[in-house]
C-alpha cells in the first residue's frame, strides 16, 4: 500500500496520472454475485422471494422497462427458461425462483427496440 502511494505521488510529481479504468462498476451493488461481459455488469441476487438481476452498462444502469430478461437454469439434466419481470430502474425479478447449487444460469437481456442481446452465464456456488 505504501509502495502504491509512493508510486502515485511520483506520477503526480511528474505530471502524470494513473491509468484511467476503461469501465465503470465491476463490483456487486446489491450483495449478489457479478459477472462482467466486456463493459456490462450482470448482478444476480438470490432472495427469499425470488431472484433479482441488475444490469449496468459501463456506468449506466440500464432501463429495465426497455428490455426483456430471461434466465435459463440448467440443473439436474434439465433446462428451465424463466422470463423475468422488469422492475424499477435496472432491476429484473423472477418471483419464487430458486437457484440450486451447481446450476448453470444463462442470463439473456434483449433490448426491445433494437433486438440487441446481452448475456452471460453464472455457475451457482
Amino acid at each position: 500500500m505504501k509502495k502504491l502511494a509512493t508510486a502515485l505521488c511520483c506520477l503526480a510529481a511528474l505530471g502524470l496520472s494513473a491509468p484511467t479504468l476503461a469501465h465503470g462498476f465491476t463490483k456487486p451493488q446489491h450483495g449478489g454475485v457479478v459477472m462482467m461481459n466486456g463493459e456490462t455488469l450482470f448482478e444476480l441476487v438470490a432472495q427469499p422471494a425470488g431472484v433479482s438481476l441488475y444490469m449496468i452498462d459501463e456506468d449506466d444502469p440500464v432501463n429495465a422497462a426497455g428490455m426483456t430478461a430471461k434466465l435459463s437454469v440448467t440443473a439436474g439434466g434439465k433446462r428451465s427458461d424463466v422470463a423475468m419481470v422488469a422492475m424499477k430502474g435496472n432491476q429484473f425479478f423472477a418471483k419464487g425462483l430458486k437457484l440450486p447449487k451447481g446450476a448453470n444460469v444463462g442470463v439473456q437481456v434483449t433490448n426491445k427496440a433494437t433486438g440487441a442481446r446481452y448475456g452471460t452465464t453464472f455457475i451457482i456456488k
Binding site: 439434466g77 451447481g102 448453470n104 444463462g106 433486438g115 442481446r117 452465464t121 453464472f122 455457475i123
Partner: protein
C-alpha cells in the same frame, strides 16, 4: 467468391495421408464466431480479413445454439448492416455453424475454378469445401461433445485455462471420432500463416493458449469424397473459438 487459393506446398506429402488421397489444401479461409459491438457475430475470413459474411449467408446451412447440457436452443442469423449476427432464444453456452463452400477444381497448378469434375473432367485437383465453426460462449459445466452436423470439430480435452500461455490439449474429431493428420493452426486470426501442427494418432495436439482474449483455433482435414463423380476429396475446415477474460479493471 475470392480466388486467393493457397497453392499446396505439400502435394507429394499429402499422398501419404491416411485417406490415401492426393490431398491438396485449397482454401485457408474459415468461419468463426466473435463479438461485434457486444453481439455474437459469424465471421468469414482469415487473419485480419473480416470479409463479407452477408453475401455468403445464403451458403450457411446451419446455425445452432446449445445450452449448458448441450441441448439445442432455437437460433437464427440476422443481417445487421454489413455483419451477420446470431440471435438465440436463450443465452447459449455453445454456438455452431456449418457452411458448405462449393466445389473447386483445377488442372495442374492452374487457377481453381468453381467447377465439378463433370464440368472439368481433366482436373487434377477437385475438392468440395465445407466450413464449420464452434464457439464456447458460456461457462462449461461438462466436456464439449461432438455436436450434430460438425463433421470435423475441435474439442478441448480439458478445462479452458484462465491465462494465456497455458498448454491446452485439443482433439480433432472426424465424424465424432479422433482423427490423425488434421492440420491445426493455433490462432487463425492473429497468426494465420503459422506452421500447421498435425494431430497425432490419438487425434490430439497440445498448444499453448495464445491470447488473453479471443482464440480461434483452426483445423483442416481432407477426407474422402462422398461423391466421386463430382469431386475427388472433401476439405473440412473447422474452427473452435473461445475467449479468456482480461484482468478485472
Amino acid at each position: 467468391m475470392h480466388r486467393r487459393f493457397r497453392l499446396s506446398r505439400a502435394l507429394a506429402l499429402a499422398g501419404a495421408m491416411a485417406v490415401g488421397l492426393t490431398a491438396v489444401t485449397a482454401e485457408a479461409h474459415g468461419i468463426w464466431f466473435a463479438q461485434r459491438a457486444k453481439q455474437l457475430a459469424l465471421i468469414y475470413g482469415i487473419g485480419a480479413d473480416d470479409l463479407d459474411m452477408v453475401k455468403r449467408l445464403p451458403q450457411v446451412e446451419k446455425i445452432e445454439a446449445y445450452d449448458a447440457d448441450y441441448q439445442p436452443i432455437k437460433a437464427a442469423a440476422r443481417v445487421a448492416g454489413p455483419i451477420v449476427l446470431v440471435d438465440s432464444d436463450a443465452q447459449p453456452t455453445v454456438v455452431a455453424a456449418v457452411m458448405p463452400y462449393g466445389t473447386w477444381s483445377r488442372v495442374g497448378t492452374g487457377e481453381f475454378e468453381k467447377k465439378t469434375l463433370q464440368e472439368m473432367p481433366n482436373a487434377t485437383v477437385s475438392t468440395h469445401n465445407i466450413k464449420y465453426a464452434v464457439a464456447i460462449v458460456g461457462q462449461l459445466s461438462k466436456p464439449l461433445p461432438a455436436l450434430p452436423g460438425q463433421v470435423v470439430q475441435i474439442v478441448p480435452a480439458g478445462p479452458i485455462p484462465a491465462t494465456l500461455g497455458t498448454p491446452l490439449k485439443y482433439v480433432v474429431l472426424y465424424n465424432g471420432k479422433p482423427v490423425a493428420g488434421a492440420k491445426v493452426v493455433n490462432d487463425m486470426v492473429n497468426d494465420p500463416d503459422a506452421k500447421e501442427v498435425e494431430t497425432g494418432a490419438d487425434g490430439s495436439v497440445t498448444l499453448p493458449v495464445r491470447n488473453q482474449g479471443l482464440n480461434v483455433i483452426r483445423a483442416v482435414y481432407v477426407g474422402p469424397s462422398d461423391q466421386p463423380k463430382l469431386y475427388k476429396q472433401v476439405e473440412h475446415t473447422a474452427t473452435l473459438a473461445f475467449t479468456l477474460p482480461h484482468a478485472p479493471e
